[in-house]
């Protein structure tokens, strides 16, 4: 019976509303006081039932909940024959709860979208080789799974057979499909857009990258700041205190009307709900935009940051060297590029990788013999030609003639911070390549956005030599540049800044930077998906997307502001009502309940604005 009533709270609210309308229509329209009174009595009893049940159940476990306050107030109103107020208060309370539920679901929608991307089923191979659909919980490490076109990859795994393109937006935020073939890694929650693959499960359930992201976001949205913990403790004693206060007012003034009005006014609502609402909406916005914020403490700190320190390689720069400049000294470049690719694809030197990547698909030639010259490069025989690939001193050793133009080019390339790869065929220079680690595109604009958002110092801390670091700092307009730094030097420098009372954020790629990420007030990881980065940091930029950083900062500022506004609304409303009840005539129980519910809706709607937050410039 109790459960039956509780489950129909919403219908009861609407029925109560209908009865109240009926009552007023019959009174004002037809002057029928009997129907008026009886409809209101029915509405109050109906509406009070679920509230009273909740109050009783709460008292049984020794919680003086808001339901208790409302129940006592309604009973009080009944005793002084004020059915009008009893009916309206119960209706507003139930209807308000219904609206709150609806709107709160809105603020949580962003995070819900994320968790709903979690795979639920998998096609698992049985011992007889057949595939059978099972729940994803039943998949163990080592199981062989079939993934068909359009399906979600259920676990982190390795492709055994088959080929296809996978949309990894749920992990990396990048929606351009990635090609997968045997031995490629695939991730849970990503979608196979075409093809069919069989995979071996490497990590399942909460251990998958996607599972970790979800857990992190779920914990983050419910993490509490110091202020919230205070509000929680406060509200625990606040509700019983209101009950006592109302009783004392009644005892000394014998004014039941006033006492029950205080009960209704004292309902804690907006104050308790305001901060969590801002929190969940802010974190939800981040999750939608490739920024994982680990909780409200992080939001609070990051919104007040003074200095942001960056790691260089992999953060400000791409982290993998690329061919940036190229010059040809012969018409027949096709063949020379083919030779170059044939030699370099055998090498695992980082520069060689950059070269192979730059050339891409080409006709490969048969390399008959190779000779590695230490500190110089490679000399090889291909199709009867002697091909040398390496630096300037290798070319000099090979007696390759470098004319004035070539020497000018070499000078120019070196000034831009390039490493050089020269290619000669039969003693003649054909190709000059300049390779360097390039600055991520858009970093300069992003940094100026950070400045506009109020960050005072932007600095680079790098293990690289001071010259390179200065070059980058100048190009990007950083305020400080420190080279020759070991990981422990970086964290020591951060500690020094903190000693001066600064709030410091550190942005790094997480692997060798974990001490600094952990020490900084806000550790921001460029999350290419490494677990260390995700775990030690406070903020994760998905897909290593640097351009999310200004959004992240702007969002935390907006969220922190929003929390402040909500606290202001909540406290302001209570103060106004209290002034109203003691110094004016217009605050009665119904008005109190109405304002109370409206203030709750106000903080929720205010929090919802954060879902649409975008950086303006």
């Amino acid at each position: 019976m109790q459960l039956y009533i509780l489950r129909r709270k919403n219908s009861i609210a609407f029925l109560g509303g209908f009865l109240i309308v009926l009552a007023f229509v019959s009174k004002i329209g037809f002057g029928n006081i009997d129907i008026f009174v009886w409809a209101l009595i029915a509405a109050s009893i109906l509406g009070a039932a679920p509230i009273a049940i909740q109050a009783y159940q709460a008292l049984k476990i020794k919680v003086v909940s808001i339901d208790v306050l409302v129940t006592v107030a309604v009973v009080g109103a009944f005793l002084i024959n004020n059915y009008e107020e009893a009916a309206i208060v119960t209706f507003l309370f139930l209807f308000g709860a219904y609206l709150e539920q609806r709107t709160l679901n809105q603020t949580r929608s962003a995070i819900k979208e994320l968790t709903e991307m979690a795979p639920e089923n998998a096609l698992k191979q049985r011992e007889n080789g057949e595939f059978e659909e099972v729940e994803v919980d039943e998949v163990d490490v080592g199981d062989v799974l079939l993934v068909k076109t359009g399906a979600r990859v259920p676990v982190d795994g390795t492709v055994l057979t088959g080929e296809g393109h996978v949309n990894e937006a749920s992990i990396t935020g990048e929606s351009i499909p990635v090609g997968k073939k045997a031995d490629s890694k695939v991730f849970a929650g990503t979608i196979l857009e075409n093809g069919t693959i069989q995979i071996a499960a490497d990590r399942v359930g909460e251990d998958t990258t996607f599972g970790k992201i979800i857990e992190l976001v779920e914990e983050a949205q419910d993490s509490k700041s110091e202020a919230e913990r205070f509000i929680d403790r406060f509200s625990k004693y606040y509700t019983p205190a209101v009950l006592v206060l109302a009783f004392m007012v009644w005892f000394f003034s014998k004014n039941v009307e006033l006492a029950i009005t205080i009960l209704v006014l004292g309902c804690p609502g907006a104050l308790v709900i305001g901060v969590p609402v801002s929190n969940v909406a802010g974190i939800g916005n981040g999750a939608r935009n490739g920024v994982l914020l680990k909780g409200s403490e992080v939001i609070h700190d990051f919104s007040r940051v003074h200095s942001v320190a960056f790691d260089k390689t992999g953060t400000l720069t791409m982290g993998n060297p690329k061919v940036a400049d190229i010059e040809y000294y012969s018409q027949d470049t096709e063949k020379a590029l083919g030779y170059l690719a044939s030699i370099e694809r055998e090498s695992d030197h980082p520069l060689a990788k950059a070269v192979v990547e730059y050339i891409g698909d080409t006709r490969l030639h048969n390399v008959t013999s190779t000779n590695v010259v230490k500190g110089g490069g490679i000399i090889a025989d291909i199709d009867g030609h002697r091909v040398a690939v390496g630096n300037v001193s290798l070319m000099e050793g090979e007696n390759v003639h470098l004319d004035d133009k070539a020497r000018d080019d070499i000078d120019r390339f070196e000034k831009r911070g390039n490493s050089l790869v020269l290619t000669s065929v039969d003693g003649e220079l054909i190709i000059l390549m300049g390779i360097r680690d390039q600055i991520r595109s858009g970093v300069k604009e992003d940094l100026s956005r950070l400045k506009a958002l109020g960050v005072k110092n932007l600095m680079v801390l790098s293990g690289d030599n001071q010259g390179t670091v200065d070059l980058i700092a100048k190009e990007l307009g950083l305020t400080e540049a420190h080279g020759h730094m070991l990981p422990e030097d970086k964290s020591a420098y951060i500690a020094q800044l903190q000693g001066k009372g600064q709030i410091v954020a550190f942005v790094g790629d997480g692997v060798n930077d974990s001490p600094s990420l952990a020490l900084a007030d806000i550790g921001i990881a460029m999350g290419g998906g490494t677990d260390v980065a995700i775990e030690t940091s406070d903020v994760v930029l998905m897909n290593s997307d640097f351009s999310r950083l200004p959004h992240a900062l702007g969002l935390t500022k907006a969220t922190a502001n929003n929390m402040f506004q909500n606290i202001f609304i909540a406290v302001g409303v209570v103060v106004l009502l209290l002034i109203g009840v003691f110094f004016s005539e217009w605050v009665n129980m119904s008005v109190g309940m109405l304002v109370h519910e409206l203030s709750i809706l106000a903080v929720i709607v205010n929090g919802m604005r954060l879902l649409r937050y975008r950086l303006k410039y």
């Binding site: 679920p50 949205q221 969590p276």
Partner: protein, 77 residues
């Protein structure tokens, strides 16, 4: 010991977190320190001794407070 994760309908009222917390803790066999009520995700996480209490007892304690249980997961630990 078993670990339970209970998914509730979305929580909205200000005092529900406190109520659910107390209600779950009042069930026999529940490890009181392990109870975590997540307001925004609408989840309750806890450990309990399946020899003393059952997941049904815990679910019941929550439903009588007026909150619908959507799904619960129990894992041995």
């Amino acid at each position: 010991m078993h670990k339970a994760t209970i998914q509730l309908e979305g929580l909205s009222c200000p005092s529900c977190q406190q109520k659910i917390d107390k209600a779950v803790k009042s069930v026999n066999g529940v490890d009181k320190d392990s109870v975590k009520v997540l307001f925004n995700s609408g989840k309750v996480k806890l450990n309990f001794d399946s020899g003393v209490g059952s997941i049904e007892d815990i679910e019941k304690a929550i439903t009588v407070q007026g909150y619908e249980v959507l799904k619960s997961q129990v894992k041995a630990i």
